[in-house]
């Protein structure tokens, strides 16, 4: 709970444009089925290539499916995919990063060399190669992207974990007789997760872009599930007659990615005022000192 509170507090201090874009994206993603005015997959061939009207606010595609509804439901597809990819990538990355940061020595050396090799390869090429071997499909796409993304989070969490381990209170805990597992799970892991989560929000834009790119290439989200990249490629043959159907999904996707990129930039420039970890650490330190006093 504390982690979530700190996370929310630091989000509030970020640039407004990006918060609006990301906020709208997340809201649409969560509430998509309730907001969408039409069934995104209901075909109405008589309304194919319809322009802007009361019935279809943003027109309809080549099968007469309502574009606005498809755009909204795509936000959910994108959001769910993004969260799954980040969840898997972060779990693997944080586990490996914190183990490397905790153990140091040759364990760290071996793990970080593996991470280096992973980082050296462009994520889209890795994802494509994995899909090429294991076939197309939703879960294959998720795992392929997660495989491409974990080295980044592993490196960040190692850096954070090393910083935490070097702080005096960890030494104190050891002296007081805290077991390695206690240090790892109670003190190292929560702090690292909090800090790495902030970096993950910055990475989210690139993940959304990759999902759209894979879907554009026909390797990601499979029809009939609506997705922006796939909507764009579906409308591409009719570019001369109904350009709006190509431009709309592209614009929405661009807006979302801009939102996440601005967020990432402000994080990279260190505009997040207090590191999340500090507050958690302070409470841990207080606990430790209280405990010492109780022991005496």
């Amino acid at each position: 709970m504390r982690i979530l509170q700190d996370f929310a507090r630091s989000l509030r201090q970020l640039p407004r444009v990006s918060m609006v874009a990301v906020g709208v994206f997340v809201t649409l993603g969560v509430l998509a089925p309730y907001i969408a005015p039409h069934d995104p997959n209901a075909q109405d061939l008589l309304a194919a290539h319809a322009g802007i009207s009361w019935e279809h606010w943003l027109g309809a595609d080549h099968l007469g499916r309502d574009t606005l509804s498809r755009l909204i439901v795509s936000a959910r597809t994108s959001l769910v995919g993004m969260c799954l990819v980040l969840l898997i990538a972060l779990s693997v990355g944080i586990t490996i990063g914190t183990i490397a940061g905790y153990k140091r020595g040759w364990v760290e050396e071996v793990l970080m060399r593996i991470v280096d090799v992973g980082l050296a390869m462009p994520s889209l090429i890795v994802a494509l190669a994995v899909i090429g071997i294991f076939g197309t499909g939703y879960w294959n796409m998720i795992f392929a992207l997660a495989l491409a993304w974990w080295p980044g989070s592993a490196r960040i969490s190692r850096a954070v974990a090393v910083g935490v381990m070097n702080r005096p209170h960890i030494e104190t805990l050891r002296v007081l007789g805290a077991s390695p597992l206690r240090v790892y799970f109670h003190h190292l892991l929560p702090t690292t997760i909090g800090a790495v989560l902030v970096y993950a929000t910055a990475d989210a834009g690139a993940v959304a872009l990759s999902i759209a790119t894979l879907s554009f290439l026909g390797l990601g989200i499979q029809p009939p599930t609506p997705e922006w990249g796939q909507m764009l490629v579906d409308a591409l043959p009719y570019l001369e007659t109904v350009p709006m159907q190509v431009i709309l999904p592209g614009l929405v996707l661009t807006a979302v990615v801009i939102g996440f990129n601005l967020l990432g930039e402000s994080i990279a420039l260190n505009r997040v005022p207090t590191p999340l970890s500090r507050r958690i650490l302070a409470s841990r330190r207080m606990l430790a000192s209280n405990w010492t006093r109780a022991q005496q």
């Binding site: 090429i125 090429g132 759209a212 554009f216 490629v233 601005l262």
Partner: protein, 313 residues
């Protein structure tokens, strides 16, 4: 200097070996039996004996190390195996496509360099002007727009509405302009930031003040004194963006119907043609490694500090 280059060469060689191992393990770990696939390609109703024969023929029963050695040996000779889908050998097919991707990436890089210097100079010379604001917006858009959207917008604007350029095909220079712009926009956006920030930092340093106190013109200070300072950073960023452009080719080639390596890679991925995926991956990884090597050497030539380090090493 020479020792430093030889160290880099050795590192690149190690990476290359790792890359080949990775390509090999990727195909070995693929689910399903390759021999069944090939046997069924030859005769629709393959018997158990036929599958056994194919297994023996491909050497699938040999130990992994022997298989890796055999594969590497033939790959070095340019024999990258046979496509499961079409049955033609991949080596020649790949060689015939290399120049398309090469022209695409090289042209995109030149476009990106021209655009990034233009935008970067406008931003650094006239901070706070409308030109500066425009360049920042272009830089942000370039970094956030998916390349397939950029390509679609270009096709719509330049080919459909204005009828200036052909939509696809490879008829001379005019058909290359849109692919180059599409693939070069993102690198241009990143590189323009490098130029802008680098120039601003260099102009704020004491040597720029000294130069202007001595009476040098602003243009001369920028071109003669500030520009060489950003060269190492720029070359480094250009190398990274070159890698990104190879990835971008995966999107740009199908969009403009270009028959390059990335297109072949994509076909291989779509039809789960392991051998094609493996061969293309090998080509990509090799090109990344060579690119990194060139960047390292280029940085050494452009940065006197690195050069001196190399002399002492």
């Amino acid at each position: 200097m020479r020792t430093l280059i030889s160290i880099r060469l050795r590192n690149a060689a190690v990476l290359l070996v790792l890359a080949t191992m990775l390509c090999f393990t990727l195909v070995v770990s693929a689910p399903g039996n390759v021999a069944v696939l090939i046997a069924e390609l030859r005769s629709p109703k393959a018997t158990f004996e036929q599958i056994r024969a194919v297994e023996e023929e491909l050497g699938l029963n040999d130990p992994l190390v022997v298989r890796y050695g055999n594969w590497l040996g033939s790959a070095l000779k340019g024999d990258l195996g046979v496509s499961y889908k079409t049955g033609e050998s991949i080596g020649p097919a790949l060689a015939g496509r290399l120049h398309v991707t090469g022209i695409l990436v090289a042209g995109g890089a030149i476009f990106a360099m021209i655009l990034s210097f233009t935008l970067g100079f406008i931003g650094a010379l006239m901070p706070g002007s409308i030109g500066d604001a425009t360049t920042r917006i272009i830089a942000l858009l370039g970094a956030s727009m998916p390349s397939f959207f950029v390509g679609a917008l270009l096709i719509y604007g330049l080919a459909v509405e204005l009828r200036l350029l052909p939509t696809f095909g490879s008829a001379g220079l005019s058909s290359w302009i849109m692919p180059w712009m599409t693939i070069g926009l993102l690198p241009a956006a990143v590189l323009s930031r490098v130029v802008r920030v680098g120039l601003e930092e260099a102009m704020a340093r004491p040597f720029a003040l000294t130069a202007s106190a001595k009476g040098l013109s602003r243009g001369r200070i920028i071109f003669r004194h500030a520009l060489p300072n950003i060269a190492p950073t720029y070359i480094n960023a250009l190398g990274a963006q070159g890698g990104a452009m190879v990835v971008g080719a995966v999107v740009v080639e199908p969009l403009f119907a270009l028959k390059g390596v990335a297109d072949l890679f994509l076909q291989g991925v779509l039809f789960r043609d392991f051998m094609v995926v493996q061969a293309c991956l090998l080509v990509f990884l090799t090109s990344f490694i060579i690119l990194n090597l060139l960047v390292d050497i280029g940085m050494m030539f452009s940065d006197p500090k690195l050069r001196r380090q190399g002399a002492n090493a």
